[in-house]
Amino acid sequence: MGRTTRRSFLTNGIGLVAAAAAAGVAGRYALTDIEAILEAIVRHHVGDDALARGAAAAFARDYAPMTASNWKLRSAVASGLYLLPLFRGALPAGDLARIERYDRRVVTDFLLSSSYDGRESGDPIDYLALETAPLCNPFARLR
């Protein structure tokens, strides 16, 4: 019961924010948590071996304020705590789908902001600059 409550607390996305507020934690502290989660998402899915050193952290630093100002995103980040395999196995399908959707969004935005252009090169993927809606499709082969 306690576990279910905690799970829905977190997946509702209120957990991180509300807990931080209740504890009187400064906004900056909460932001740091979000950064850590974003970095973890990128490293988990893109893979440390594929990433240039510090790329995920640099992306997370730029990306976090964007998430912090958006309640919906922020709540999704909170539920991203379930990245931990320990929790994941026990999650209902709906929550898993929600986490996957959010993870995909973060990973997509990271890849669009990085040197990854879809072609196999073997070079580590470096973070360039935040670019969530590029003017042109970076993966397109125009001719």
């Binding site: 990973v107 993966f139 082969r141 125009l142």
Partner: protein
């Protein structure tokens, strides 16, 4: 200033009207006078980008507007999408520009469903070529499937995404999807596959503003924007005057011939207010029914093609199944917007958004209601797409895995319904029987012979393919025939 009498009065400036007008200009004398009455504002491309909108209030051009300001719908019913502005749907369209399937023109004859069109694919073929040339369409001239053609496309096809190309190698039903976007930068800027074509950042997509300036700037034409056409005044069975309202003032303009191209919601409203009621007028409003699914493959990218959507699979576009349920088109999107890139390493790009689109037939349950009060908005009643379309969409969704068999299919997601296909059609249908249709195959009103009705409102059915190229080609043909040119 619109004053006096005109040889031609054109209502609206979308696909139907401007292609009709373009053809007329080639036949009219240099001294001819043409009035073009457009309800919306003139919004240059740069302003559209700045406003993030294709249309603005004509009286306050800094205020973007959207379609829902121009009609009402019943609670819970689907929305409709169109653009009110100089250029009409040419501004907001995505530029998917396939021809219709030859069988689309003979549904009753071939399958006992819907209605036959009063023209055939072959009647339209030379005009398809002409419209493709004017628009500047990129397509594959070598592999045309059932869409037989007498001339090559003006621009080469875009490169398909990896998934699309892999299928083209193994499946004769997989074709390039023709697009009104410039594949090589020959006519406009080259398309960069941005994928939000409603507001093309490069202006690579055909619009009336970048593709028909010679029409809009022709010295014989007077254009009046902000002119909301309400009705036609008839005399002795002829359309004599067009009644419109501008800045709160009601005015008329007279003309020898009137071309009504005010979209499939406004066309029937204007005819109804003109006393041209008919059992089929405004009835049967239709558009295709669509859903998106994500397809994940072990190999091949679904987002590395050269434009917003690169391929189409036509396996269900025609066949005996049309006796039982709708035909369907599969469009290969080249975008990650709906689902995001994939999470798995090495497979980030192996995702395809597949658009599945089923044709629809007219149903008397769906109609445009025109209130007596001319100031009131038309009300759209659209309870359902009908069992024919619904069953067709379901069958097409079930068949998705078959398309990718042998290509390392990993997952097909649950379908997500598309709220609107943005293709309003079928409210002033063309046909040979004046008792069951509003206009004939030359788009002339059965009763009022100096009145042409153009655009997608004249479609007798709503085939799976996008309609605008066909509306343009049909206008070119009808206008030629108005001048006895064939």
């Amino acid at each position: 200033m619109i004053r006096g009498s005109y040889d031609l009065v054109v209502v609206g400036s979308g696909f139907g009207s401007l292609f009709y007008l373009r053809e007329c200009l080639g036949h009219l004398p240099r001294t001819a006078r043409v009035a073009l009455l457009e309800r919306g504002a003139y919004l240059p491309h740069a302003r559209q980008l700045a406003l993030r909108s294709n249309s603005a209030d004509p009286e306050d051009p800094d205020r973007p507007t959207s379609a829902d300001r121009y009609y009402r719908r019943l609670e819970g019913e689907k929305p409709w999408n169109f653009t009110i502005g100089l250029g009409g749907g040419t501004l907001c369209w995505w530029g998917q520009a396939p021809r219709l399937h030859p069988s689309d023109f003979g549904m009753r004859r071939l399958y006992g469903r819907g209605e036959d069109w009063p023209i055939s694919y072959d009647d339209l073929e030379p005009h398809y070529c002409a419209a493709e040339e004017i628009i500047g369409i990129a397509g594959d001239s070598d592999r045309v499937g059932p869409f037989r053609r007498s001339r090559p496309y003006p621009l080469p096809a875009f490169r398909g995404s990896g998934i699309d190309m892999a299928l083209r190698e193994r499946d004769p039903m997989q074709l390039a999807l023709p697009a009104a976007r410039d594949s090589i930068g020959a006519l406009r800027a080259q398309c960069c596959a941005h994928g939000e074509c409603r507001l093309c950042p490069q202006d690579a997509k055909f619009t009336a503003l970048n593709g028909l300036p010679a029409v809009l700037e022709d010295a014989r034409i007077s254009i009046l924007t902000g002119a909301n056409v309400l009705a036609l005044e008839l005399e002795a069975g002829h359309a004599r005057r067009v009644v419109f309202e501008r800045r709160g003032r009601r005015q008329t303009v007279s003309g020898d011939h009137v071309v009504l191209g005010a979209n499939a919601i406004c066309n029937p409203a204007i005819l109804q207010r003109s006393g041209l009621g008919h059992p089929e007028l405004g009835r049967g409003i239709a558009e295709q029914m669509g859903a998106n699914v994500e397809v994940q493959l072990a190999a091949h990218s679904g987002v590395d093609g050269g434009t917003a959507a690169t391929g189409q699979n036509i396996r269900l576009l025609d066949g005996a199944h049309r006796r039982a349920h709708a035909a369907a088109a599969y469009y290969f999107d080249n975008r990650w917007k709906h689902h995001g890139l994939r999470l798995e390493r090495g497979r980030h790009l192996n995702t395809l958004n597949l658009m599945v689109i089923a044709e629809a037939l007219r149903s008397e349950r769906n109609f445009v209601e025109v209130p007596e009060d001319w100031d009131a908005l038309p009300v759209i009643h659209h309870a359902t797409h009908g069992a024919y379309a619904e069953d067709g969409l379901r069958a097409a969704l079930r068949a998705v895995p078959e398309i990718f068999a042998g290509l390392g299919l990993e997952r097909v997601s649950e379908p997500v319904a598309r709220p609107s296909e943005a293709h309003v059609q079928c409210t002033t249908p063309a046909g040979t029987d004046p008792g069951r249709s509003i206009v004939d195959g030359d788009l002339l009103h059965h009763r009022v012979r100096n009145l042409s009705v153009v655009g997608t409102s004249v479609f007798p059915t709503a085939p799976a393919g996008n309609p605008s190229l066909t509306a343009a080609a049909w206008s070119l043909r009808a206008a030629r025939r108005l001048f006895g040119a064939g």
